[in-house]
Structure formats: structure tokens, C-alpha cells
């Protein structure tokens, strides 16, 4: 385990402190330096602005605005930011979204430590990276063109959708994303139309079935 990440400055964003600790030790063991940590999306954007790290390693699901929205804001702030997204989920929707949004890499959290370090190295070298385990699913998902209605959601709508599906209220989501409740309401209206759902329960069901949330 001698991946050379010498001198690479990393910002870690994950809501689990012990996970951050493990990743920090791994990265430091490979020669990188973890310059900052954040436990939510807003924090990550803020710390990035302060620290301008070489690589951001960010979990998709976090409290607050969440990983995808944080990624969008971060790239809006600095288009050249190199972000490796991590996820505990194994669906094909979120990776495709994240990569489309501009993430350099996407990795499952269950990957081996070496794979994690390799992924950080690839992203730091400004190469794209996709978890080999996900690659097949993503490719097949793209090929089959299954017509999953989730594909029709805009990035913003998907972020709102995931939050709402997790059971947060429109006002909560508005607060998370610093949007007005009426804007979130409009998103919700479009989401319901595109997914053909009637209520929050059905919304949650669609999200669950697509592996976007676990319950």
C-alpha cells in the first residue's frame, strides 16, 4: 500500500467522524495531507473556499444540502475543482448525475482501501475515475435507456427529490438549500408531474426503489 499521494492536499466531507478519521489516516499514510474536514455540504463548500485543496473527497448523502448540491455549488465556485464523490449506494442514477455535474470520480464506500487511494490519486491527477463495480451498472443503465422517469429530473429537482424522499418538509428543504419555500414547492410540483406520484409516501417509494435512499 504505497500509493504515492505525496503532497496532495485533500478536503474530506463526510457526516461520520470515524469514517473521516479512517480516510484521513489512509490518505496521510499514503503521503497526502488532509487539510480540512467538513460534516455537511455547506461546510464543504465553505472549507473549499478557505482552503482550495487539490482534491475534495465528499460523501453523497450528508445532512443539509447533501453531496450533490454541494458538488454543484462547489463547481459553480471553482469549475476546476477536483471532486471524488463517495457513496454507500449502488445504483446507477447518482453516479451518472454526479459525473454529469462535473465530479472527477465516483467510488463506492465499500471499496478496498487501496482502491480508495487509487481513486484519490486518479482524481488528483485530473483523470476521471469510476468505481469498477459500478462501471458495468452505469454503462448498462445508459445503454438500456430504461426510460427511468428519474432521468428526466433536473439536477436541482433530483437534489430536492432526494431530500423530500428522506422525509424532510418543503420548509426544511428550502432551509437546507437556501431557497424560498415557494421555489421548492415549484420543484416539488415538477417532480410529482415527472414521476407521476401523488404524495410524499409514493415519492419515498420511488426513491427507495431506485436505491436513492434506504427507507
Amino acid at each position: 500500500m504505497n500509493s504515492n499521494l505525496q503532497g496532495i492536499r485533500v478536503l474530506l466531507a463526510d457526516d461520520h467522524a470515524v469514517v473521516r478519521l479512517g480516510f484521513r489516516l489512509l490518505l496521510e499514510g499514503a503521503g497526502a495531507s488532509v487539510v480540512g474536514e467538513a460534516e455537511n455540504g455547506e461546510g464543504a463548500v465553505q472549507r473549499y473556499a478557505e482552503l482550495t485543496p487539490d482534491v475534495v473527497v465528499m460523501d453523497v448523502s450528508m445532512p443539509g444540502i447533501g453531496g450533490l448540491m454541494a458538488l454543484e455549488r462547489l463547481l459553480a465556485w471553482e469549475a476546476r475543482a477536483k471532486v471524488l464523490m463517495l457513496s454507500a449506494h449502488h445504483d446507477d442514477i447518482v453516479p451518472v448525475r454526479a459525473l454529469r455535474l462535473g465530479a472527477r470520480g465516483y467510488l463506492c464506500k465499500r471499496a478496498a482501501p487501496e482502491e480508495f487511494l487509487r481513486a484519490v490519486g486518479q482524481v488528483a491527477a485530473n483523470r476521471r475515475y469510476l468505481d469498477p463495480e459500478l462501471a458495468a451498472t452505469v454503462a448498462l443503465g445508459q445503454l438500456s435507456g430504461s426510460g427511468n422517469p428519474l432521468e428526466t429530473l433536473s439536477e436541482r429537482e433530483l437534489a430536492v427529490f432526494i431530500k423530500l424522499a428522506e422525509g424532510r418538509s418543503v420548509n426544511d428543504v428550502a432551509g437546507d438549500f437556501c431557497l424560498s419555500p415557494s421555489t421548492v414547492g415549484t420543484h416539488l410540483y415538477h417532480i410529482k408531474q415527472k414521476l407521476n406520484v401523488q404524495n410524499a409516501a409514493e415519492l419515498a417509494l420511488v426513491a427507495m426503489r431506485n436505491g436513492l435512499i434506504e427507507a
Binding site: H16, V18, L25, L26, R110, M208, R209
Partner: protein
């Protein structure tokens, strides 16, 4: 006719009976008239003959009387007689003049009978003429007296007949009313049952036919109630099953959340930490090797958690065909050593109703069991939606049932749970051990919605 139909059954039957009786009476009346006509004929004929003989005798007596006094003598003889036994008498002179005509009949004077009746009954006799000297005595039979009597008799009989008919009509109606009174109760009972009161029962009526009717009605009501009870029972069972399923799903979701949020993140953290130890313990094999083991074991743990999460996840949206194809493609990727032959004919059935989910779960459970217990190299799966039923067959060439397939009773995930779920849908789950070896799972259930079990029993 329509007016007749509007009358009650009782009235109609009474009218028919009365009509029949009236026809009979008319026939009898006709016979009587015929008899009366004959009697009148005989009577008048006899009277006419007797009268004629008497006039002949008179003529004999008068033969000696001189012609000049003859008319006066004859008139003196016949005038006091008046009518001779219902025969009118005329005396005509030699020149044809009517010298005498007997007075009109005095019997029931002023009474007349209708012409039609008189012509019907009156006998036709030619007047008899007896010559007395130059005089002619003309005897005209006159049946008017007998006809008046017959007419009076007929009127009296007609009156009695009408009275009889009226009594017959009323009596029939009353008897029918009495006999058919239970029909009111039957109709009321049908109305009550029709409005959903299935506890309605009829008393057993004294009339045998109506008694049978009420027994048949009560039997029908019993069976109806039993069917409704069964239905309610079934719906309750299905509701309970649905609630249990919902609770299981909720439980499953909360387990999934716990696993994902706590266990999976914890394992990720341990794995990363163990990886960090491996990095830092290059010179300490005693430390590095166990740390490597931890990394390896946590990998397996994550695979385990992932598999559990996949099983806990509700089925995906879309048509059942698509969902199954995806699921099977994923299974093939995971188990390349097992050849999976499939025949999917699901039509346009959706995956997100209870039946679609059941199909998905059966396939999931069956395939999981094969991986766990069967040691099979080939699996044949057929899922066919045909003629309102789902038929699923899953056969493998593995060790067969003796190998001991865990039923996993109670956790709702195993075959036992599947069998219960299928039973609630009105279907079955059969485990078979074909002679050729291996193991075969067959499941079937109605694809429709609603009263499944009742339909099957019907």
C-alpha cells in the same frame, strides 16, 4: 288486454273461473231453451188438436140448424167461450167478413216478451179451419201464454245464475287470497334480502308448494350469508395480511436504515482504519497481517450488508417484465457458475402491485435458496401470465429437497412466508422433487383483483 294484466293475479284467476262457469251456464240455458221449445210445441199442438175436434163436434151439431139462424147460434155458442185453450178463434161469414174474433188473451195481460225470444220459441202451425154451413171457424194456435211463462222462468233462472256467478267469483277470490297470502311475506323477504339484510328467513308455510318455496328461500339465504361471511372473512384476512406485509416492509426499511447508516458506515470506518494500520506497519508483520485480515473481513462484511440491503429493498418500478429481467441479469452476473434459463411471459403487468411484488419475491426467494442449498449448475425459470393466472416454475438440477431447505418460518422472507402470502392471494406453492433429480418450485395464483377465492370455489 293491458287492463287485464294490471289486475291482480287473484282477480284474474277468479275472472277466468267465473267465465268458465258462465259458459257452462249458457250451455245449460241453451239446452233448457231447446227443451222449453219442444214442450211448448207439443202443448200447443195438443191444445190445437183438441180445440179442432171440439169445433168439428160443434159443426156436427149445427148441421141440422137452418142457415138463417146458423150464424146467431154459432156466435151464441162461441162467444161465451172466448179463446179456446190458447187458440184464437175467428168466425167468418160466407163473404169472408169477420163475424167474430175471440178477445186477446188475458193471462198476464200487458206483458210482452222480446220478439227474438218469441220467434225462438213460438211453434209454427197453420191455422185450422172448420166449416159450419157457410161459416168458417178459423182456429189460430197462440203460444204466447207458454212463451211468457218460459220467459219468466228464464229471467228467474238468469237472476239465480248471475247471483251464483257473483258468489263464485267472490268465493274464488277469497280462497285465492287466503291461499296465496304467504306470497306477500315471500316478496317482503326478497325485498329485504335484496337490500342487504341477509338474515331474513321465511316461516315454513302450510301449503306444500309454498312450504317448498320457503325452504328453498331459507336455504338460499343461508348459503348467501355463508358466502358473504366467507367474503368478509377473506377480505379481513387479506387486510390483515396486507397490514402484516406493510409492517414487515416498514420493519425491513428500518432494518435497512440501521444497517446502512450505522453498520455499513462503521464497517467503512473500520476498513479504512485497518487500511491505515496496514500502511503504517510495514516493519511489524505481527501487526500488519491481522490488519490485512481485518481489511479482508470488513470487505466480506460489506458484501454481506450489501446483499442484505438488496434483499430488503422493495422491488423497482416499471413493468414486471423489465424488473424481472433486470433482477435476473444481476443474478447472472453474481452467479456465473449457474446457467439460468428463463421464459418470461408477463404481458403488460405492473411490478408495483401486490401480485407483481409477489412474483418478484418468489423469484428472489427461490433463487436465493438455490444458491444456498442446491449446489445446482442449471436453473430453469418460467413465469407465465396466462388466462388470468400467474404460473411460476423454478427448477434446478441440484441436490433436491433432502438437502434441507430452510423454511425460515416467521421471518416473512423464506418459502414459508411465500406460501402464506400466496395462500392469502388465493394461490399455492408446491415443492416437488422430480424423478430426474433436483428440485422444483411451482407457484400459481389468480392475477385478477377482488374476490379471488370465492371465484375459484364457484
Amino acid at each position: 288486454m293491458t287492463q287485464l294484466h294490471r289486475l291482480s293475479l287473484h282477480t284474474r284467476i277468479s275472472l277466468v273461473l267465473t267465465g268458465l262457469a258462465a259458459s257452462l251456464l249458457l250451455v245449460l240455458g241453451g239446452l233448457w231453451l231447446h227443451g222449453a221449445r219442444d214442450a211448448i210445441h207439443e202443448e200447443v199442438e195438443a191444445a190445437s188438436r183438441v180445440s179442432a175436434q171440439w169445433l168439428q163436434a160443434l159443426a156436427g151439431e149445427m148441421r141440422a140448424v137452418p142457415a138463417t139462424v146458423l150464424p146467431a147460434r154459432v156466435l151464441g155458442m162461441v162467444r161465451p167461450l172466448g179463446r179456446i185453450r190458447a187458440n184464437a178463434l175467428e168466425v167468418r161469414g160466407a163473404d169472408g167478413n169477420i163475424l167474430y174474433r175471440s178477445p186477446p188473451p188475458t193471462y198476464k195481460a200487458g206483458r210482452t216478451v222480446p220478439d227474438w225470444f218469441a220467434t225462438l220459441l213460438a211453434p209454427q202451425f197453420a191455422p185450422r179451419t172448420v166449416a159450419v154451413g157457410d161459416l168458417r171457424l178459423v182456429l189460430t194456435p197462440d203460444a204466447s201464454r207458454s212463451i211468457i211463462d218460459a220467459w219468466d222462468d228464464l229471467l228467474a233462472m238468469a237472476g239465480r245464475a248471475l247471483l251464483l256467478l257473483a258468489i263464485l267469483f267472490l268465493a274464488t277470490r277469497w280462497a285465492l287470497d287466503r291461499a296465496l297470502q304467504p306470497l306477500e311475506a315471500v316478496m317482503a323477504a326478497l325485498d329485504r334480502t335484496g337490500s342487504g339484510r341477509f338474515d331474513t328467513r321465511l316461516p315454513v308455510f302450510a301449503t306444500p308448494e309454498l312450504g317448498r318455496l320457503s325452504r328453498a328461500f331459507n336455504g338460499m339465504a343461508d348459503r348467501l350469508r355463508a358466502a358473504v361471511d366467507d367474503n368478509v372473512h377473506l377480505e379481513t384476512e387479506q387486510e390483515v395480511a396486507r397490514q402484516i406485509q406493510d409492517r414487515l416492509d416498514a420493519e425491513r426499511r428500518s432494518i435497512a436504515r440501521e444497517l446502512h447508516d450505522e453498520l455499513a458506515q462503521g464497517i467503512t470506518a473500520v476498513r479504512a482504519l485497518a487500511g491505515a494500520i496496514v500502511q503504517r506497519s510495514g516493519e511489524l508483520p505481527a501487526l500488519q497481517n491481522p490488519a490485512r485480515s481485518i481489511v479482508a473481513v470488513t470487505g466480506e462484511m460489506q458484501d454481506g450488508v450489501r446483499n442484505i440491503l438488496l434483499r430488503l429493498r422493495p422491488p423497482a418500478v416499471g413493468s414486471l417484465q423489465t424488473v424481472l429481467e433486470r433482477q435476473l441479469a444481476a443474478w447472472r452476473l453474481q452467479h456465473e457458475a449457474i446457467e439460468l434459463v428463463t421464459e418470461l411471459r408477463c404481458g403488460e403487468q405492473a411490478a408495483d402491485d401486490i401480485r407483481g411484488q409477489t412474483v418478484v419475491r418468489i423469484v428472489q426467494e427461490g433463487l436465493t435458496n438455490i444458491v444456498r442449498h442446491a449446489a445446482a449448475s442449471r436453473v430453469e425459470l418460467a413465469i407465465i401470465h396466462h388466462a388470468g393466472r400467474w404460473e411460476i416454475s423454478l427448477a434446478d438440477n441440484g441436490r433436491g429437497q433432502q438437502a434441507g431447505i430452510s423454511a425460515q418460518a416467521g421471518c416473512g422472507l423464506g418459502l414459508q412466508g411465500m406460501a402464506e402470502r400466496l395462500a392469502a392471494l388465493g394461490g399455492y406453492l408446491h415443492k416437488e422433487s422430480p424423478l430426474a433429480g433436483g428440485f422444483r418450485l411451482r407457484a400459481g395464483f389468480p392475477a385478477g383483483s377482488g374476490k379471488i377465492i370465492l371465484e375459484e370455489e364457484a
